[in-house]
C-alpha cells in the first residue's frame, strides 16, 4: 500500500496489532479509567442528585486521565529499539505517522469511552435522554479532539526530560475549550436539551477537532525532524 492514506492505515494497523498482542496494557488502561470513576464517587460522597448532574464531567475527566497514559505509551513503544528511526527509514511519511497514531489513539479512547459508559450509567444513575447514536457520535468527536494535540505533544514529551510531568502540563490547558464543549454536549444528552444548545456546543467541539487535526498534520513532521 502506498500513498499517504495507505501508509497511515499501515501505521494504524501496526499500532493496533501491538495493542492487541499486549492486551495486559489495554486491560490496565480500562481498570485505571474505571478506578478513576469510582474514586470520583468515593471522593464526592453519596449525593446521588449531584453525581447525576455532574456525571458527564466525571466521565470525561476519567477519559482525559486515561488518555495521558495511552498517549504516553503510544510513543514509548516507538522509543524501544529505536523503532521510530526504523519507521522513518522505511521511509514512512511523518504525516502518515501522525495520522496513523492519531487514528489509533482516537480509536482507543473512543472504545474506552464506550466501555466507561455503562459504568457511568451504573455508578451515577444517569439516563441517555437524547438517544445513543448522538452520544456515540459525541464520544467520537471528543476523542478526536483530545487525540490530535495529544499525539503531537506526546511525541514532543517522549524525548524531553521528565516526560510524565510534561505531557499533562502541556496538554491539559489547550484541551480545556474542547473539554468544556464535550462535557457540555454529553451533559445535554444525559439531561435533555430543552434550550437547543447541543448544536452550538458540537460546532465548537468540531471546530477544535478540525483545527487541531490540521495543525497536527502540518506541524508533526517538524517534531520528528532529526531527533
Amino acid at each position: 500500500m502506498s500513498g499517504l492514506l495507505g501508509q497511515s492505515l499501515l501505521v494504524l494497523r501496526k499500532d493496533l496489532l501491538i495493542e492487541w498482542r499486549t492486551r495486559a496494557r489495554l486491560n490496565a488502561l480500562i481498570f485505571f479509567a474505571i478506578a478513576t470513576l469510582l474514586l470520583f464517587s468515593f471522593a464526592l460522597g453519596p449525593d446521588t442528585v449531584m453525581m447525576r448532574k455532574h456525571a458527564a464531567g466525571y466521565l470525561w475527566l476519567g477519559l482525559l486521565f486515561s488518555s495521558m497514559l495511552s498517549l504516553g505509551e503510544s510513543f514509548r513503544i516507538e522509543s524501544e529499539n529505536l523503532a521510530m528511526d526504523g519507521l522513518k527509514l522505511i521511509p514512512v511519511d511523518p504525516r502518515a505517522i501522525f495520522l496513523g497514531k492519531t487514528m489509533g489513539n482516537t480509536l482507543l479512547l473512543w472504545l474506552l469511552s464506550l466501555v466507561l459508559l455503562p459504568v457511568t450509567i451504573a455508578l451515577f444513575d444517569v439516563t441517555v435522554t437524547l438517544g445513543w447514536p448522538t452520544l456515540v457520535g459525541i464520544f467520537l468527536v471528543g476523542s478526536m479532539a483530545i487525540s490530535a494535540p495529544g499525539t503531537v505533544y506526546a511525541a514532543i514529551a517522549s524525548h524531553a526530560r521528565a516526560r510524565d510531568v510534561l505531557l499533562p502540563l502541556l496538554l491539559f490547558p489547550i484541551l480545556i475549550p474542547a473539554l468544556l464543549a464535550v462535557v457540555k454536549a454529553t451533559h445535554l444528552v444525559f439531561e435533555g436539551d430543552l434550550m437547543d444548545q447541543l448544536k452550538s456546543w458540537m460546532r465548537l467541539l468540531g471546530c477544535f477537532a478540525i483545527i487541531y487535526w490540521t495543525l497536527g498534520f502540518l506541524l508533526f513532521p517538524k517534531v520528528l525532524e532529526d531527533d
Binding site: 503531537v152 505533544y153 526530560r161 502541556l170 490547558p173 489547550i174 487541531y212 495543525l215 517534531v223
Partner: protein, 251 residues
Amino acid sequence: MPLITPLLILVGVVGLLLAHAFVPSVRRWSWKAFLGIAVVMFLVQPYLALSWAPPEREMGEVQRIMYMHVPQVWMALLALTLNFCCSVAFLLKKSWVTDALAEASAEVGVYFGAVGVTLGAIWAKPTWGVYWDWDPRLTTAAIMIVIYMGYLTLRRFVEDPEKRATWSSVMGIISYVDLPVLWFSVKWWNSLHQVQSSPKTVDPDMTMVLRWSATMFLCLLSVFIIHRFRVAYAARQAEVAPPEALAPGAA
C-alpha cells in the same frame, strides 16, 4: 491637551520600533528612547487617568482602572502574537534570532497577561461583586496564561537548543488557537464581561487617556522584550558556541 497627542506619540513609537527592527545602529540606543518615553508618559498618566478623564456614568470612579487593565491585556495579546509570528518564522527558516525573540515575547506576554487579569479581578469585585467568574472571557484569559506557562516550562525542560526551538515553535503555533477565541469570546457568548468599546461610543477624553496608556505600555513592552531578547540571544549563543579549543583564534 489636544486629543490627537497620544496618536502622534504612537506613530513616533511605531516608527522607532520599525527602525529598531531594520536599522542595526538604532538598536544601541532605542531601548533608552522607549524607556524615556515610557517614564515621561507615566509621570502624566496618573493625572490623566485619575482626574482629567471624566468618571463613567454607571460605574463612576472605579472605571478608571480600565486605563491600566485594558492596555496591559492588549500588550499581552501583542506579545503573544509576536511569539506566534516568530514560531512560524522559525519553522520556515531556522534562526536563533526568532527563537530568542519567541522566548522573550512569551515570557513578557505572560507577565502582562497575568497583571492584566489581576487588575481585571480587582475591577470585578466592586462592579460584579466577585473577583472571579467563570465567564468565557475570563476562562479563555486564564487558559491563555496557563498554556503559555506550559510553553515556558517546555523550553526549560529540553536541553538541546535546536530541538527546544523547533518543539516550542510547534507549541507556540498550537497555543495561539486560544487567542482569537479570547478576543471574540465577548461577542460570541455575550456574557458578563462587556464587549470591546469603540471610540464612537465613548467620550473622546476617555479614548485619549486609553490611547495614552496603551502607548506608554507599548514602550514598556518594547523595553522588556528588547532586554529579555538580549538575554535569551546571549544564552543561545553560549549554548551553540563550539568548545573553547575549537573556537576560531584558539591555538
